[in-house]
């Protein structure tokens, strides 16, 4: 059974915050929304692209597992009005 089935919201929030802090430490600043054993990363424009790196992605998945999350997903957000999503921002 997933640990999240028996866990309170406060504990899930704590684990999500710990995951966010760990991810920020490896260059992926984000907020983490816990949804049972799924962690949804909410990132600023351009940050999701960093997770295209396989090594970084594997490290992020390992950190998520350490906090009890079985699934990790990054939210895709619409580009801000006037932004050109095809160009990296300075």
């Amino acid at each position: 059974m997933s640990i999240f089935t028996s866990m309170g919201q406060a504990e899930a929030r704590r684990r999500a915050d710990q995951l966010a802090a760990s991810l920020a430490g490896m260059g992926v600043p984000c907020k983490v929304e816990p949804r049972a054993a799924l962690a949804v990363l909410m990132v600023e424009s351009g940050v999701a692209q960093r997770l295209a790196d396989g090594e970084l992605r594997r490290a992020a998945l390992a950190l998520a597992r350490e906090q009890g999350f079985t699934h990790l997903a990054v939210e895709l957000t619409a580009p801000a009005a006037g932004a050109d999503a095809t160009l990296p921002r300075p």
Binding site: L72, L76, T86, P88
Partner: protein
């Protein structure tokens, strides 16, 4: 030619030989029964099973039965009809009503048991009424060890699984499907749409249509391999083959993906960072381990 290439050719030849031997055993199995009705979805396994039965027994002794409901993707129905037409397999279509069974729509971990109970409960008598007293499904040897409560319903309704009985693996079924010219030979696995909803999230026709629209939108972007859109209320979590992740995390492609799934009706779109895994929601709920 390199030693690696030689080894690859040897492995393919060995696979084809092994699969052909199992097809002979399957033909024997069919001949011993004389007439068979097949639970036919148009997926890799049941399509191969129907064509193999037709080749062995002739069209008058084979009936492929499709159970139609909201959880059955329209594209898969089209594939099923195309295979049946191309290989001269007779088809019967029945409507199933699992959506109105509260034990199913509540979406417990054993949801498949209630779906298959409804399916076989209609299909087996319909087959018998047409003189088909052996009913089979497409369960293969790889399926036998997993968490599949639907298999219990098959056993309770005396539905046989000849592919599993003769030891056919998915890889071998694909090899024989390719040799026979079935269009399904490299089709991704395609379980019912309800498998996209986490256990405990009630199954409704609206939610299934939302997932179906979203998956169709993703396919229209050119993604042809294993893929799922998992429903998490307002969030669509997309699982792509791991090799696709780098491409679809590129900002321009990510925006295409987000826009396509949002247009299908999800307000938020997320990309799973591990990628596709069969039975993903079983892992999410601790029913199986990663």
């Amino acid at each position: 030619m390199s030693q690696t290439a030689d080894a690859d050719i040897d492995a393919v030849a060995e696979l084809e030989q092994r699969a052909a031997a199992k097809e002979d055993a399957l033909a024997e199995w069919f001949r011993a029964r004389g007439r068979v009705a097949i639970g036919f979805s148009g997926g890799v396994d049941s399509a191969y099973l129907a064509v193999a039965a037709r080749r062995t027994l002739g069209s008058e002794n084979v009936l492929a039965i499709i159970g139609r409901s909201a959880s059955y993707p329209a594209e898969q129905w089209a594939t099923a009809r195309r295979v049946a037409d191309s290989f001269d397999v007779e088809v019967l279509e029945l409507d199933t009503d699992e959506m109105n069974d509260p034990r199913y729509s509540a979406n417990p971990a054993n949801r498949c048991y209630f779906c298959k109970t409804e399916l076989w409960g209609k299909l087996v008598p319909a087959a018998a009424a047409r003189g088909f007293h052996t009913v089979v499904d497409g369960t293969n040897a790889d399926d036998v060890g997993g968490y599949r409560p639907g298999m219990q319903a098959a056993r309770e309704n005396t539905v046989a699984s000849p592919l599993a009985e003769v030891g056919f693996s998915k890889e071998e079924i694909r090899a024989r499907s390719r040799a026979l010219g079935l269009p399904t030979w490299q089709q991704p696995a395609s379980p019912c749409l309800s498998s996209r909803l986490p256990y405990g999230t009630s199954v409704t026709p609206e939610r299934l249509r939302l997932v179906e629209r979203a998956e169709r939108a993703v396919r229209e972007l050119g993604i042809s391999g294993d893929m799922r859109v998992r429903y998490h209320d307002d969030v669509a979590r997309i699982e792509l083959a791991p090799a696709e992740l780098t491409t679809w995390l590129d900002p321009r492609r990510a925006e295409e993906l987000r826009a396509a799934v949002a247009a299908a009706g999800f307000s938020r779109v997320a990309l799973d960072l591990r990628g596709f895994r069969s039975g993903s929601l079983n892992v999410l709920h601790g029913v199986t381990t990663a």
